[in-house]
Symmetry: C2
Subunit: 327 residues, 2 copies
Amino acid sequence: MADVAARAGVSSQTVSRVSNGARNVEAGTRQRVLDVMAELGYRPNSAARALKTGRFRSIGVIMFTLSTLGNMRTLDGIVTAASGAGYTITLMPVAQPTEGEVAGAFSRLQEEAVDGVVIIIEAHMLDRADVIVPVGLPVVIIDSDAGEPYVVVDTDQEQGTRLATQHLLDLGHTRIVHVAGPATSYSATRRSTAWLGAMRDAGLDPEAPLQGDWTTASGYRLGLGLAARDDVTAVFAANDQMALGVMRALHESGRRIPDEISVVGFDDTDESGSFWPPLTTVHQDFGGIGSRSMRVMLEMLDGAPPSDDRIVPTRLVVRRSSGPPPA
Amino acid sequence: MADVAARAGVSSQTVSRVSNGARNVEAGTRQRVLDVMAELGYRPNSAARALKTGRFRSIGVIMFTLSTLGNMRTLDGIVTAASGAGYTITLMPVAQPTEGEVAGAFSRLQEEAVDGVVIIIEAHMLDRADVIVPVGLPVVIIDSDAGEPYVVVDTDQEQGTRLATQHLLDLGHTRIVHVAGPATSYSATRRSTAWLGAMRDAGLDPEAPLQGDWTTASGYRLGLGLAARDDVTAVFAANDQMALGVMRALHESGRRIPDEISVVGFDDTDESGSFWPPLTTVHQDFGGIGSRSMRVMLEMLDGAPPSDDRIVPTRLVVRRSSGPPPA
DNA sequence: GTGAAAGCGCTAACAT
DNA sequence: ATGTTAGCGCTTTCAC
């Protein structure tokens, strides 16, 4: 910057003003400085700027590394929204979604160059106030049971689950089994709970959900057991990947979908409509989750109260994997 | 830091030493400083540190936002490797994979707090020296036609393609069609070229590849056309998503896989083994791409010459979507 | 509209 | 083993 100032015959202060787009610089002076900047290939040093202003223009995202498709899409939404607001995203992976790991990532984050933190861990640990509280940064949590004072942005799991369950109920199914996500996942338990609620509201007495872990492999394993039973006419899987695994098991066992058994998923990834048969599923607006998270984050950064609009609705996408139960 | 120093009765320099784990501090002094740090909740300011050292301990990743599954997995590998080396990842999305956008991202990156840049854009633009050259940072490019002086890390596209093509050839197929990725993608064109080469080496005269865009939708559209032809016995799709779309079109048209027509993909995502039928495909080691990129980056950061080992081999995973052609 | 001075929090270099 | 000095590149404040 000093070089630019010297070459342009102005003070470094003026260079700073031009660099930041301040308006009290004469057009001629500005142009001269701009020319010299280009000539010298000048780029402001963000560390120095951050040191002085105390702002980094970056948001940290803590996420479980080997993440699900949905989390990747959510990250994509966050990155896009952040970029639009002139912020970059700094990734903070945690190897395992355990409380210790998250606390560790959090403490590391305090020395990172970020203005706020978004957490996507989908775990139950976040109600432990001591894990998060020590940080003096705005925090937005996605998909968590963290209560006050945390700001949580999330898909409307209850509404989505009821959409899926009601669809099956309306079709005439009563013997519906739920293939749940891992018990450590908050969204998985909410989907289980909402499913139980919807079933009971319909006067049914559902059996306990089967326990998967989000992967196609777990869906396949559980699906093999389901295929061997003749008292089940529909399966509601907590995500599309497990639904895919269930369908594979059903296919291999010679069970016809949806004639003998219906399958419904949750997520609606880009591929779900091309599964065979195309999967009926609950569409989650991952991009919406990401952009709302960033909007709330930006509000907090500005010292404004975060807007209330933090639960993102879903919609049911009916395809060919669901139909009436066999007569 | 000054507060800690005063409270612990030492100089700020000693606090700095403790903070950085220097060994020339007496155990008692260290403990006292540590205690005060905890008491005061001291956290080093990374901006100040970066300003002084000129190092940010962060790597920027430029990527096309609405990315493919494979790119997401590669990013995951990079993040994991970076984290292990004590680096964070700063994401720089580009809205469109055009030359202008990439150049823009690059120029923005220069003011970002990063020590090096990894580019995942899978586009042909990177041989344009003027796009990248101006940056004084180490650059590693994934999947690109960028030649010297750029360091490129990539999957062995040629080997993978030949594996897939030879598999079909060995099965007895001669009427094989290639569903290619977008012409703007370098890996897509390399797969096309390698496929043409493998076919010609087998003495065949293949028809021009069909042009998809990586999405299941494009695979479906092209698959519909393929399903209507009776002179095709096998399809080699340039990625698994397009293969999935092709299979859906085939199913809907009542064509049996692999009895009437075989389908082979490229990528081997987590879901591919659960498609129906389970997809024969070329396994790409996305994590390996990510970790090698980071290893090379770290070498460059240390001023060492980047190691040669930058092409990651693939392997063929034979499942049930491929078989001999109909008699 | 522009410039001079001061200092953000840290660490490299040197001194003790 | 510990302290002192200086300065990284920028922006804020205040003066002109």
